[in-house]
C-alpha cells in the first residue's frame, strides 16, 4: 500500500515513485546521505548529534514514545564494544508503516542507523525485520549491498576515522520479539523471551554489551532532523510532540494506508485523508495506537488530536500510530475475541500471570461471543486483568488486559446483551456485509 495523501511530507517524500524509487541513486538524488557526509566532514561531535536530536523532541516511534536523544545519551562512552539495533519486528496488529518505510525508502533507515552509530560510538548494527515480510527483508539486504559498495558502510566511512557495518536479521513469527529485550535474545539465536529490566539495553544489551535500540521510523527521521535542525523539526509538530508521524489507518475506511501528518493533527482530518468511512457508515470506535491501546468510542476520538499527549488524556495511547477504525457493523464482543485470541497465542509463556491469564481472557470472551456467557463473566474478566497488569516481566500482559478493560468499559451494554440474549446486538447479516468481502454478487460465500 503506497502513500495516498499527506500533510507536510517528510519521511514519505521518497515514496512518490513507489517500488521504483528505493534504490541508492534515487535516494541520493533526493538529498540522501548528505547528512552523514556533513556529520563526518564537519567533525560534528557525537554529543553535537545527540544534542540536535534532543532539541527535536523526537519520541520513539515504536510505541513507548521515549525521547530518542535522551536514550542515546544513556550509552556509556568508554565501553569498547557497543551496538545499534533497529526494531522492524512490526507485529502490533494494525501497524504497517515500517514495512513501507523499508520498502520505499530503505536508505533513510540505513543513514539514520549509521548516524546513530556515530553518535553512540557503535561499530556494528542490526535491523531485526518481521519474519512475515520476507520480501521486504530481501529489499533491505539489497539496499545494504548498495550502501556498502558506495562506501557508506564498512571501514573508515567516506575517508573518516569512523567505521560501521550493518546487517539484517529476520524474525520467523513471534510477536514478543517486538519487545526490545525479547528481540535481543532473538538476535542471539534464542527463544525471544524478554529479560528483566533493569539492566536496560544501554548497559546490558546485545551479547551483554551496551546497545541502543530504536524503531525503524525513529531512525528514518534522523537524517531529516539533522537536515533542518532539531528546533525546526520540533515546530512541525507541537510542544513535547516533535515532528511528523506515520499513521497506519486500517479497518472501515475507504482508503486504508499510511498517512504522514504533523503531530497534533485532528483525528477528523486523518479520517478524511483516509477517504472517510467506508460506505458512508457511522463511526463506532477507534483503537488509536495498535491493538494493545485502549479502544475509544467515536465521540471521544473525534475530539482528539493525533499526538502522544492528547490520546493519553483521552485514556488511550498513541502507541505505534496504528489507527484501527470500526464502524457500526462491528460486534464489539467479536472484535475483542479476535484480539484476545492473538494475545493468548503470542504470550511467550515465561510469566504465569500472562501465560495463564491471556488464556482465561480468551476463553471467557469466546464463551460470551458464543452464547455461553455467564452473569458473573464481566467481573471475572476484570479480576483476571487485575492479576495480570504490572505483574510480569514485559508489557504483553498489560497489552492483553487493556483491550479487555476498555472494550468492556465503553461497550458494556453490548457484552451484557450478549450474555443475556446469547447473541450479538449487531445483526449477523449486517456484520457479514460490513467486511466488504462478499461484494461480488456472483460469489457464494462460505457460511
Amino acid at each position: 500500500m503506497a502513500l495516498i495523501d499527506t500533510i507536510n511530507p517528510l519521511l514519505t517524500t521518497g515514496w512518490a515513485k513507489g517500488d521504483a524509487g528505493w534504490s541508492l541513486k534515487d535516494y541520493e538524488a533526493r538529498g540522501g546521505y548528505a547528512q552523514l557526509k556533513r556529520v563526518l566532514a564537519s567533525k560534528m561531535t557525537p554529543d553535537d548529534v545527540i544534542g540536535e536530536v534532543k532539541k527535536s523532541v523526537l519520541r520513539g516511534r515504536g510505541g513507548a514514545g521515549f525521547p530518542t536523544g535522551l536514550k542515546w545519551s544513556f550509552m556509556p562512552k568508554a565501553a569498547p564494544e557497543k551496538y545499534v539495533v533497529c526494531n522492524t519486528d512490526e507485529g502490533e496488529p494494525g501497524t504497517f508503516k515500517d514495512r513501507d518505510l523499508l520498502r520505499f525508502d530503505p536508505h533513510s533507515v540505513i543513514e539514520g542507523m549509521i548516524i546513530a552509530g556515530y553518535a553512540v560510538g557503535a561499530k556494528l548494527g542490526y535491523n531485526y525485520i518481521h519474519g512475515e515480510i520476507f520480501e521486504i527483508y530481501q529489499r533491505f539486504e539489497a539496499a545494504l549491498d548498495e550502501a556498502r559498495a558506495a562506501g557508506y558502510l564498512g571501514e573508515k566511512i567516506l575517508g573518516s576515522d569512523f567505521s560501521f557495518d550493518l546487517f539484517a536479521h529476520h524474525g520467523w513469527g513471534a510477536y514478543i520479539c517486538g519487545e526490545e529485550t525479547g528481540l535481543l535474545e532473538s538476535i542471539e539465536g534464542k527463544k525471544g523471551q524478554p529479560r528483566y529490566k533493569p539492566p536496560f539495553p544501554a548497559n546490558f544489551g546485545l551479547y551483554g554489551k551496551p546497545t541502543t535500540i530504536n524503531n525503524t521510523e525513529t531512525f528514518a527521521a534522523i537524517p531529516f532532523i539533522l537536515g533542518m535542525g532539531g528546533e525546526t523539526y520540533l515546530n512541525l509538530g507541537k510542544p513535547n510532540n516533535g515532528g511528523t508521524k506515520l499513521f497506519s489507518v486500517s479497518g472501515h475506511v475507504n482508503r486504508p494506508g499510511n498517512y504522514e501528518v504533523p503531530m497534533g493533527t485532528p483525528f477528523a482530518k486523518l479520517l478524511e485523508l483516509a477517504g472517510g468511512m467506508r460506505g458512508g457508515r457511522r463511526l463506532k470506535a477507534v483503537i488509536p495506537g495498535g491493538s494493545s491501546a485502549p479502544v475509544l468510542p467515536a465521540e471521544v476520538i473525534m475530539d482528539c488530536t493525533m499526538d502522544y499527549d492528547s490520546i493519553a488524556k483521552a485514556g488511550s495511547m498513541l502507541g505505534s500510530g496504528a489507527v484501527i477504525v470500526m464502524d457500526e457493523t462491528v460486534c464489539m464482543v467479536k472484535a475483542l475475541e479476535r484480539l484476545s485470541y492473538f494475545y493468548y497465542e503470542e504470550s511467550c509463556g515465561q510469566c504465569t500471570p500472562c501465560r495463564e491469564g491471556s488464556g482465561w481472557l480468551y476463553r471467557v470472551v469466546h464463551r460470551i461471543e458464543h452464547g455461553q456467557g455467564r452473569a458473573e463473566d464481566l467481573d471475572l474478566l476484570n479480576r483476571v486483568t487485575d492479576n495480570m497488569m504490572g505483574k510480569t516481566i514485559c508489557a504483553l500482559a498489560d497489552a492483553a488486559a487493556l483491550p479487555v478493560r476498555s472494550f468492556t468499559k465503553h461497550f458494556k451494554s453490548e457484552f451484557e446483551y450478549h450474555i443475556e440474549h446469547k447473541k450479538c446486538l449487531v445483526d449477523p447479516e449486517v456484520q457479514r456485509a460490513g467486511s466488504g468481502f462478499f461484494r461480488a454478487s456472483s460469489v457464494t460465500g462460505a457460511a
Binding site: W172, Y175, Y207, S248, H252, I324, G436, F437
Partner: protein, 163 residues
C-alpha cells in the same frame, strides 16, 4: 558422524555461511533462525535430525536449536503441503474480511486450519498479524510470498495458479 551435514546441500550450507558472517566470530548461534529457514526451504519442513544437523553445524546443542524451531510460528515441525497458505484473521484484517477469506479458502479446499488436502497440495494455517493491515485481507504463501487484498476472485486466482 562424518557426514552429518550431508542432509543439507552445499548450496544451503553456503547460504548458512553467509548468515554466520553477519555476526561476531564467537556468536555463530545468532545465525540459527536464518539457518533453520534455509533448511526448511530445502526439506519442506524441519524433521528433528535436520534441526540437529543445523545445531551441529553452528556448534550449538540440538535442544537449543529445537527450542528456537518450536518457539517461532513459521517453522514447520510437521510435514506440510506443497503450498502452505497462512491467512491472517486478526482484528484489522477481520474488519476487511480476513475471517471470511479463511472461511472461503476452507470451503474451496475442503479442509480446516492445520489440515492438508488429501493430495498433499495445500496446508491451511491461521496466521497472526503480518504487518500489512492496510492490504487486508492478507495471506502468505509458503511463508515468504505475501498476497494482498485477497477477495474471492483473488483467492480463486491464487488457488488456480498453485499447480
Amino acid at each position: 558422524m562424518d557426514n552429518q551435514y550431508d542432509m543439507l546441500s552445499p548450496e544451503a550450507l553456503g547460504k548458512i555461511d553467509r548468515e554466520v558472517a553477519k555476526y561476531p566470530a564467537d556468536q555463530k548461534q545468532s545465525a540459527v533462525m536464518a539457518a533453520l529457514v534455509i533448511a526448511q526451504d530445502e526439506k519442506g519442513w524441519l524433521p528433528q535430525e535436520t534441526i540437529a544437523a543445523v545445531a551441529s553445524y553452528l556448534g550449538m546443542a540440538p535442544i537449543a536449536a529445537y527450542e528456537v524451531a518450536s518457539f517461532y510460528n513459521m517453522y514447520d515441525l510437521q510435514p506440510v503441503g506443497k503450498y502452505k497458505l497462512t491467512v491472517c484473521t486478526n482484528l484489522p484484517c477481520a474488519l476487511s474480511g480476513g475471517v471470511h477469506a479463511a472461511d472461503y479458502v476452507k470451503q474451496k479446499l475442503g479442509i480446516d486450519f492445520n489440515e492438508t488436502t488429501p493430495d498433499g497440495k495445500f496446508t491451511l494455517k491461521e496466521g497472526e498479524c503480518m504487518g500489512a493491515c492496510g492490504d487486508a485481507p492478507v495471506m502468505l504463501v509458503n511463508n515468504k510470498r505475501m498476497c494482498s487484498f485477497m477477495l474471492p476472485e483473488e483467492i480463486d486466482k491464487l488457488l488456480a495458479e498453485c499447480k
